[in-house]
Symmetry: C2
């Protein structure tokens, strides 16, 4: 039987998972791939560090470029993460005529077009199913299953860490900080959780999906990106009362021929499937002009879900399917690429929460600012102050005040926000979150 | 640019949808397929009947075999339904070295292995993504995305008509008969709804998925199949009170190396995603040994969702990907195929509803039968009789009585059922439904 020889660069969580599947199920994999899938060499950062998978010492190296230049290797699996060294490794692999499988969304988002070009010049293929949404085969779904459709809308929970943190906050009634700490203890969040909780990771993945579905090359600096790191438990509770969950939602949708694009904590009606996704799971809701709505959900990260996607890509390469898909990939999406809608023109509903002094004319002052900016209010909730509060003379109780607006433009919201800063009755910071259509 | 010439057999709902996508989006399709996708000829039952898609009369024929033998045609798209003539058409197409795309689950379930063999002998490919779960790419998911996994469990709502009927019953508070009538008016149910409501359609689809995921060839006569046609609105309501939805659930799962297989109305806990699928939608929950749980959901039938799947298959053939997949298909699943668990040994929880006379010793009589058959009760609900009932002298009010059992074997349930028939206190028919794990 033929063999496909694999070099793995990076033997962390996902790399160990891939090594496990390849070694523990060699016969099954060979049956499905039509070839033996053989781990030939593995590059690690520290050759002497103990690791969770038992590989012969002779298979290991600390020099990733000794893998990318090894004439016996057919496929380089890049699982080291980061962008600088990873891009050097991938470039070297392609230049040495290896196929590449990667789970590195930052790399694909930042250098995708360039690396794809290099791959084409060398008649080699880059597979990156594992780079977006872990166990959800969303790259294949857009590229193959939905090939008879123009995707018109894509709404996605694609950062499992953020979704886990929001779920813990809401269901365990804990603060953002406590939920982050728990996510770190379990291993869902990094020691520095910035990439996840500031929305960058989700925005990078949205960039990749946007390229595939709409042919438009974007990076997170092209569109509004906001993370969950400023969310308060109170907002999750108030949104729930109003009939919504708050999720870190990545959205790309066609609006009158232009592309509305953003990654933000967003209110989503409880009834929608995407509002019901809890814990470290991802979900992508696609709308196609033929198929209508379709949903894909699975673990968004984690060792074995991501490893499963990596191994599927390796099998696709062994069969030759991935090469055919990659040849067609430059043709994907809009033709010509769809241009972005300016952020100011994005139109939707918004949720506001103010923390205000409970005294006359407060609602009037706020409503006046919103009204002068053509922002129409759909509903208002003001909570009563607790009866037991003891106040200093002349002081007012502090109470929460929530507004839901009718549809309005982001530009008007930003203008109103500037004016709201000047209101003395509002104790900062106040909260403004979009509502999903 | 190269062209792929397509013959369509059957221009009903789905056929018209396919023709629409191929003609309305010719440029987009060509871009994605790398070839022009051209409708060459179309076989219809009555050439003079008006139809929803505008095709030149010269393109139409009433003789499907004139399509399968046409030397200019590359791909035959079989959308006529039924089994006898359809299998003749597909055989002729393969013998004449055409690839075949079909949405015909009955055909694939009944003649799959034989037709696949014929296709291989002629070096041609059969694509059938549209045969299971309409817009959900579940065939591709099992065959490609999950290729690094052994599927260990598959639970699916794969009959949109039944799911629509159950949803209407519950949410509109209407009887089974009324909901069927509404489904027929909307076009979700056939004039004769038997295939859908008796569970056959879902069981055929389960047979196809079982072949792919476990390598085991089964038809619906190999495993328990029960439809929704005997379900009462009351059971949907009582199940809801107990914390469950009732769905027509198709299940295949590995239990100690054997395959548990059934298609039955089943109680599913409200919290599970598959319990929340309403209307004509389908959902498949897969569990893989690496990926964990993954969910796929979309419209289960309907013109454009199914047409979308057919066109994806055509594009896959144009690219050459489908041919590679098909070559590997005979290798799929368990190796060797997994054998079935006898129905008597299936172990799970059960829900019973009895309609009983409200008099002493009724619960004792029923509980005695269950207890003697080693069936342990987890909970009991007896509803009070309405106060206003006027009864004849010596008569008792009739009340509903529900039991939830602990885990037990289907064989014991069947034995108890025989004995329950002899109890005078139970007015027939009583209801027994399984509970999903």
């Amino acid at each position: 039987m033929d063999a496909l020889r694999i070099g793995i660069v990076g033997l962390g969580t996902v790399g160990s998972g891939v090594a496990h599947i390849l070694r523990d199920h060699a016969e099954r994999n060979a049956l499905r791939a039509g070839k033996q899938l053989i781990i030939h060499r593995v590059a690690v950062r520290d050759i002497n560090k103990p690791r969770g998978v038992d590989l012969p010492q002779s298979m290991l190296t600390e020099d990733p470029l000794s893998i990318t230049t090894d004439p016996d290797i057919d496929v380089v699996v890049e699982l080291m993460g980061g962008v600088d060294l990873a891009s050097k490794v991938v470039r070297s692999a392609l230049a040495n005529r290896k196929h590449v499988v990667t789970a590195n969304k930052a790399l694909i988002c930042q250098y995708g077009p360039e690396l794809f070009q290099l791959a084409r010049e060398n008649d080699r293929t880059i597979c990156f199913e594992a780079a977006v949404a872990g166990g959800c085969p969303i790259i294949a779904a857009i590229g193959q299953a939905m090939a008879g459709n123009q995707i018109t809308s894509l709404q996605a929970i694609i950062n499992g860490t953020s979704n886990f943190i929001l779920t813990q906050m809401f269901h365990q009634n804990v603060s953002y900080d406590d939920a982050v700490r728990e996510a770190q203890e379990i291993g869902y969040a990094e020691a520095d959780p910035a990439m996840d909780v500031e929305g960058t990771d989700a925005a990078q993945k949205l960039g990749i999906l946007t390229q595939l579905a709409f042919g438009t090359s974007v990076t997170p600096d092209h569109f509004p990106v906001q993370g969950i790191n400023t969310l308060a438990l109170d907002d999750l509770k108030y949104a729930d009362e109003l009939g919504y969950a708050i999720k870190l939602l990545a959205t790309a949708k066609l609006v009158e021929g232009r592309l509305e694009l953003h990654t933000q904590p967003t209110l989503i009606r409880h009834q929608r499937p995407i509002a019901q996704v809890d814990g470290p799971y991802n979900m992508i809701e696609l709308t196609g002009d033929a198929v209508g709505k379709a949903w894909f959900s699975a673990m968004g990260a984690g060792q074995m879900a991501t490893a499963s996607a990596v191994v599927a890509d390796i099998i696709d390469l062994a069969i030759g399917r991935a090469q055919l898909t990659f040849q067609k990939l430059d043709l994907w999406g809009g033709h010509p690429p769809v241009s972005l809608q300016p952020a100011e023109e994005i139109e939707r509903r918004y949720y506001f929460r103010f923390t205000v002094e409970d005294r006359p004319h407060v609602i009037a002052d706020i409503a006046d600012v919103l009204g002068r900016n053509e922002i129409s209010l759909a509903s208002i909730i003001q909570k009563e102050a607790p009866e037991t509060d003891e106040l200093a003379a002349g002081a007012y109780p502090i109470v929460p005040l929530m507004f839901m607006t009718h549809r309005t433009r982001e530009g008007l919201i930003r203008k109103a926000a500037e004016e709201l800063k000047n209101l003395s009755c509002v104790t900062t910071p106040w909260v403004c979150l979009p509502v999903a259509d």
